[in-house]
Symmetry: C2
């Protein structure tokens, strides 16, 4: 049975109506790169928007004709017969504004200067992303999503959809998410940002014009990130105190397997990801707080929501623990929303949301079966 969407191809949408960010900054025009899978039905009621997390992008499923090994980041979840079933749903993945995978971002050319935006690219928020995504929905003729789905930072975007456009989303699926960051979450982000900002190759964000990249800082940021994505237990199981060479070397080269893993992940990431995008993504995380303007009261914040919700957490996720998901569930119940909540037993920490876990996938499938039933699929 073929369960892949097959060959994917990225599309581009140009928006030349200025977009005002929450910060007050205005982007005069921008492009979004996106992919779609499945077929939009006649009344355009079967669309699902996938929102990506910190390092994600528009290539959610399938592979490219000229690059068959480049498989979408959520290919296990999205495809024919998969939980997000492209035989039933029209699925959209996009690269967020400010990203580094094709949508307008810090490495794009600023039409005002003819140079890359760099540090001039405005600081963006989850709210701004949802605005830009709503325009893409308009362009595609989608007035209401069957569902908006996201994990981690993607989950925050899904939540924001229910607040900014209560009538444009029937279901919100927020996975391994949190309603807002804690001080500890912000602290980790700030260390990562400081690693980049203080890298001598950062040049105040204008490193493109110096033909350098703040590799050292970005690498540290990613290494640190990885620690928070994995559970203590998963790290212990996978790496423990294993030594690469079987003995201590009494030096600062790689000795423990965990060091090898982290440095490899850091090097790989720093070779392709844009440091300015990393900064923007972490700031968007820090800022998101639906209750910021209502005295910190999440009950008030979620009063606007009209969607139904599926909230999923993973037991060993310590970046956004199950407790944080319950902070989403409670105000929704307070506001008499329909909420399904699943706490999945998993050893893989925050990264669980990207993994093919039977119980997790069953929950997703069952919920989306019902969503599809609403339009008779």
């Amino acid at each position: 049975m073929n369960t892949s969407v097959g060959i994917a191809s990225a599309q581009r949408a140009l928006f030349d109506t200025p977009l005002q960010f929450k910060s007050g900054a205005v982007l005069p025009r921008y492009e979004l790169v996106y992919e779609t899978y499945g077929t939009l039905n006649a009344d355009k009621s079967n669309a699902i928007l996938i929102c990506h997390a910190l390092s994600g992008h528009h290539h959610v499923a399938g592979h490219y004709a000229d690059d068959p090994k480049n498989v979408g980041w959520w290919d296990n979840m999205v495809g024919p017969g998969k939980p997000i079933d492209t035989d039933r749903f029209f699925v959209i993945g996009l690269n967020n504004l400010g990203g580094c995978h094709g949508s307008t971002g810090p490495s794009s050319i600023d039409p005002l200067t003819g140079l890359p935006y760099g540090a001039s690219f405005p600081v963006i928020t989850v709210e701004d992303w949802v605005e830009s995504q709503a325009r893409l929905a308009d362009r595609l003729g989608i007035t209401q999503f069957a569902a908006v789905v996201g994990g981690s930072l993607g989950g925050m975007q899904a939540l924001q959809w229910s607040l900014a456009y209560p009538d444009r989303v029937r279901h919100v699926l927020a996975i391994a998410a949190a309603p807002r960051l804690t001080a500890q979450n912000i602290a980790f982000n700030d260390v990562a940002r400081n690693a980049i900002l203080t890298d001598p190759d950062f040049h105040g964000g204008h490193y493109y014009r110096h033909n350098v990249v703040p590799t050292r800082g970005l690498r540290l940021a990613r290494m640190l990130g990885h620690i928070t994505y994995l559970s203590d237990d998963a790290m212990a199981d996978k790496f423990g105190r294993e030594l690469r060479g079987g003995k201590f070397n009494y030096g600062y080269e790689i000795e423990f397997e965990i060091e090898s893993y982290l440095r490899y992940q850091g090097d790989k990431f720093a070779s392709y990801f844009d440091a300015n995008t990393y900064l923007l993504m972490t700031k968007a995380l820090d800022y998101f707080d639906p209750a910021h303007d209502v005295g910190g009261d999440l009950n008030k914040a979620f009063a606007r929501a009209r969607a139904d919700f599926l909230v999923i957490s993973f037991t060993t996720d310590w970046r956004f623990s199950p407790q944080r998901s319950r902070e989403i569930v409670r105000p929704l119940l307070h506001n008499r929303r329909n909420v399904s909540y699943a706490e999945i037993t998993s050893t893989h920490g925050h990264d669980s949301f990207l993994m093919q876990h039977p119980h997790y996938f069953d929950v997703m499938r069952a919920y989306l079966d019902n969503v599809a039933g609403e339009f008779g699929k």
Copy 2:
């Protein structure tokens, strides 16, 4: 009631018998700087050795005549009438070899070259520290300590005393410690080390001769460290999502109070601590594993121990959680040692071991009362 040891003064001990490190490296001569408080009794049975953690030193209690604000780092615990009662015990604090507070370390002059050791200072282990401490004990005529006491990395040294010199220590007090690091612990250390090692001002550890200091890297290392010293809850209580200026600035300057705190801590630390010492300390942490040579079996490792033990953990410590302390307790019980174990309810995370917490201090006091009773004090 005066509960301070009053004026402290540092002393120096020169050792010119070569010390061979576990790595094979040999230090031909070295100095240790130390302080003592209280009076050594006639049969020299009332001595307590305090082992310090990553950033500690010999100045444990009291203040200096010419610097009254420079109060010892454990002054709340050590003094007349305090849990480590200097009316009863003769207390020794020292700066560990490889340190940056006076004992021979990377910033000391290598007699072979006339230049600072820098990166040439050999990588040191907990075992090496205990050797160097045993020589200091010899110098002071102490054949057996009433107790060796330490928190965190200091607790590892206290444990090692019971293994290297089972007959030279009657009681071991290991507080907020672990028998060995997990993969996650090592991972955090490796990120911190990489921040220092990749700082362009590090110069392969020979920054002294370049008249620079790898401030950026050391600052990041300390910021990261601080996250692991505090509990998520304590950070939430103390900082939450509080904004310094009351509103978002949409930039990379300090916005959240937690950022202000972390950056301040990082800056302060980087202004006085030596980066090479930081590297050495984290490596000593990584390497320590009493079971390394006995197939990973802590039961076997602790078979040599003869001391009695007090093990203390703190509920919100996630750097070395209570579970990690129980990993010390179990093999000791297996070997029929006398072990007292206290899990203290505290909101302050790993840093709890430095704080004046009533239950914690009561446990320390009660245990040490009994220790003092053994020599009739």
